[in-house]
Amino acid sequence: MELNQLTAHELLVRLKSGSVASEAVQEALYARIEKVDSKINAYVRRADFRKNDAVNKKQGLLFSLPVTVKDNICTEGLNTECCSKILAGFCPPYEATVISKLKKAGAEIFPLKANMDEFAFGSSTENSCFGPTHNPWNLGCVPGGSSGGSAAAVAADEAIWALGSDTGGSIRQPASFCGVVGLKPTYGRVSRFGLIAFASSLDQIGPITKDVEDAAILTQAISGYDPNDSTSVDQDVPDYLKSLTKDIKGLRVGIPKEYFVEGMDSEVKSVIEQAVNKLKTLGASVKEVSLPHTEYAVPVYYIIATAEASSNLARFDGVQYGYRAKSDNLIEMYKRTRAEGFGDEAKRRIILGTFALSHGYYDAYYLRALKVRTLIKQDFDRVFAEFDCIAAPTSPTPAFKLGERASEPLKMYLSDIYTISVNLAGIPAISIPCGFTKDKLPVGLQIMAGSFNEEMLFRVAHTFEQNTEWHKIKSSL
């Protein structure tokens, strides 16, 4: 096996013992990227790219192990452009709190950034100004999105592990499409400082990894209160490695009936049913539950998320940084910069959000959406009063064909139908590989738990993983 194919925890053992040098890990990654990334396009290639200086710090917990970072997380001295023309050339003079935490833990920030949908707007990584990312399992398919670059890089062994961001499923859905592990932590668990905001009340940074243990290690490294983020929560971070037990006997697992409805791919349905049966055989008690407001999640999400986005993206105006269209008057400069700098999906969401917040519509849309959001949250509270976790599909379908939904935004928005509620409720959820369709496309099992109960996710996911082989199967790329 090549070094780049190993998991982070496998590499850490070798780095610690000195049998492997961290330069060798990086070189293996570069060689792999050289070989396959022209087909996958998981990484953004920029003119200013240069490899990190040789490092072998042997310090901290993470021993100079490189972490791949999504292009919307600020890396000091490394361009951070959200894969948008409007941020062309933007190199932040500061770094995200998660980056500082990783460096402090001894990790190396991989100098190539991961491709994504522009500003995280999308479920297929087709909305990138650097071109789409392809799914390592089938190059004609999308890797999911918006963290499609991160997920594809991990799945294709072009990354040891990666950071993504999840606003409505942007970590879990691509993890599911690419057959890797993806976790969205509880809102407030991980600092958002330095994450270029899409929808501030929903965004969370999280790990995309080859297995659950790696997800626990990476989550551990980036979690915790940050005084620079008022929405981060001052609550101790437990030792997540301790929750990697292989025992779920007696755990009460709820299966939301609203998630198994028409429109769901029949193959995905049967794969998920088998996975649920596996949980049963491992000793969990499985029962159907109801999340009655599920059907409102997509509309509520697309009001709240676009409203926040319309305001968050107002700062991209050509005045201070990024792309500026030439013009001799201010209003024209604003208009042309934004017309030329934003892609179609960004424009669509800015228009939607601006409308939702407009005078006379605010009560009917935004305010009502906030109220329904509370109802959705209460649905989960009721279930978690009686259940330890919820198991569900991550996505109603496996990876779809490139271009298939690009011209149908509504169909594209429905790919997030199973992931969005979790963001609205602020709870944590993980997607783990749980099988394949006949066409050899991965299917992800989503596990959700109550706020700040990431330990439950690791426990259930790890137990499932240790009793199955799905995560070990690699694409034939």
Partner: protein, 477 residues
């Protein structure tokens, strides 16, 4: 037609906190453009605001001083609009849950109090500043993010003079709290006015005009006075008032239409998801209430009672916090029994020195001790009241002590009867007519003779003693 004028004022006040409202930048007005800035107040992507507790405390103090109810639950909202001095293209402000509501302050006309309602006081951030020169526009972001409070009055002001009095009292209270420079010329206090006219006796409000661009309290009064005339004339002609914003042109002394209601902006307010809702508990309010200094109205009452001052005198002394402190210290250490004598010095010679120098009493270059030393010379009859005023002026200019100046200018009064008798004899010899007049019963002649003695002594003779000596000399013989 007789109209009643109805005015409401919106005052913006920069708080003089050490750092900005949502980042750690130092506030320093002396610095070169764009040197008191950081990625947060520049609105760089990925950065997040964290509110400044000191600013919140100052805002609560102001709200308490204006008798407002502090709201238990409050939040920050985003006010969205594009302008190059606004780095994020939204301003963090407060919309539907302001920090405080329902306050008031009193203004006084002919010693009668009138209560002016305060609708709300809330906290927000300032924008940067545009500098237009050589055909280009430059932006200075030093001011961006400085905490502002907005104080909105009820439409309770019925004349430009009342508006002026309201501002004067408001400023005096803020000065006492020591939370802002309150300098309208420097822009640390800004005032917009809403004004409408209605038929005398009518309860319905007329169509209002919003006035902007006033740079002094007098400017506010002048602009309002102009508007009263303009609107009255328009209404008399049967013209249609339109709701509009007008700019005051101080040079021409007129208001000019800027935009009408149709052009009003939709700010698309919504709760800022980067700043969590917060709770102001009663303990915190009480702690701040205890820290409130004695406010002008309380001090006025106390001065009147404690030092038996007239309302007129007391008002002059408490009009500025520093003057009140200086005056009270003078009154306290003044050794004489009749404190009124000390007060007369403060509101007489000292105030006129201050007025002619356009400074406050407390800013004159004179200490309490030196002032009292000077008064001592007068009370002991060693110098005349007239020369004391001259000495006071010189003390302020030169910084020398009263004693030094009195000796230097040879001003000590002659009270030595032997020396004075000599002068009196020569005056009697030179003014036989007046002597005869006096003896024949024209008592006025005595004053003339005293004057002659004073003249001969170059003003140094003690007039009281001269009078006594002269009358004794003339009646005895």
């Amino acid at each position: 037609m007789i109209y009643q004028t109805v005015i409401g004022l919106e005052v913006h006040l920069q708080l003089s906190t050490k750092t900005k409202a949502f980042c750690g930048c130092i506030i320093d007005f002396g610095r070169a453009p764009n040197t008191c800035v950081c990625p947060i107040c520049l609105g760089f992507p990925g950065t997040l605001p964290v509110y400044n507790k000191e600013a919140l405390n100052s805002a609560i103090k102001v709200a308490l001083a204006f008798n407002c109810q502090i709201q238990e639950h409050t939040k920050f909202d985003r006010k969205n609009y594009f302008y190059p001095d606004l780095p994020k293209n939204y301003q963090i402000s407060q919309y539907d849950l302001p920090l405080s509501r329902n306050g008031y302050l009193y203004i006084y006309r002919d010693n009668k109090p009138k209560r002016i309602g305060i609708t709300r006081i809330h906290l927000e951030e300032d924008a940067g500043k545009l500098i237009h020169e050589d055909g280009q526009s430059l932006v200075d972001f030093n001011r961006a993010g400085i905490p502002l409070i907005e104080i909105v009055s009820e439409p309770d002001l019925f004349s430009p003079q009342e508006a002026f009095d309201y501002l004067t009292n408001l400023k005096s209270i803020i000065e006492y709290l020591d939370v802002s420079d309150c300098d309208m010329e420097k822009g640390s206090l800004r005032c917009d006015a809403n004004i409408s006219l209605r038929k005398a006796g009518s309860l319905e409000l007329g169509v209002k005009t919003e006035l902007k661009n006033m740079n002094s309290f007098k400017g506010v009064k002048d602009a309002l006075s102009f508007e009263v005339g303009r609107q009255a004339e328009l209404l008399d002609r049967g013209g249609d008032m339109v709701q509009e914003t007008r700019l005051w042109d101080a040079e021409k002394g007129v208001t000019v239409s800027m935009r009408t209601k149709e052009g009003a902006k939709d700010y698309r307010y919504f709760p800022d998801p980067d700043l969590t809702r917060f709770h102001i508990n009663q303990d915190m309010i009480e702690r701040l209430r205890l820290k409130l200094p004695e406010l002008p109205q309380e001090k006025l009452q106390r001065f009147m009672k404690e030092y038996s001052l007239s309302e007129y005198d007391a008002k002059i002394l408490v009009s500025s916090k520093e003057d009140a402190r200086f005056s009270e210290e003078c009154i306290r250490i003044y050794p004489g029994k009749d404190k009124k004598l000390m007060v007369n010095w403060l509101i007489g010679p000292l105030l006129s020195e201050a007025n002619s120098r356009k400074v406050k009493i407390s800013e004159l270059n004179i200490t309490n001790d030196e002032l009292i030393s000077l008064i001592g010379f007068v009370e002991r009859g060693e110098i005349s009241g007239l020369s004391a005023k001259g000495v006071l002026s010189q003390m302020i200019d030169s910084g020398k002590s009263a004693r030094e100046l009195i000796i230097e200018s040879n001003l000590l009064q002659v009270s030595d009867t032997e020396e004075l008798s000599k002068i009196i004899e020569s005056v009697i010899l030179e003014n036989t007519k007046s002597v005869d007049d006096f003896r024949s019963g024209k008592t006025n002649a005595l004053m003339f003779l005293v004057g002659q003695v004073m003249k001969k002594s170059s003003g140094k003779a003690n007039p009281k003693i001269v009078g006594q000596l002269l009358s004794r000399r003339l009646t005895d013989a």
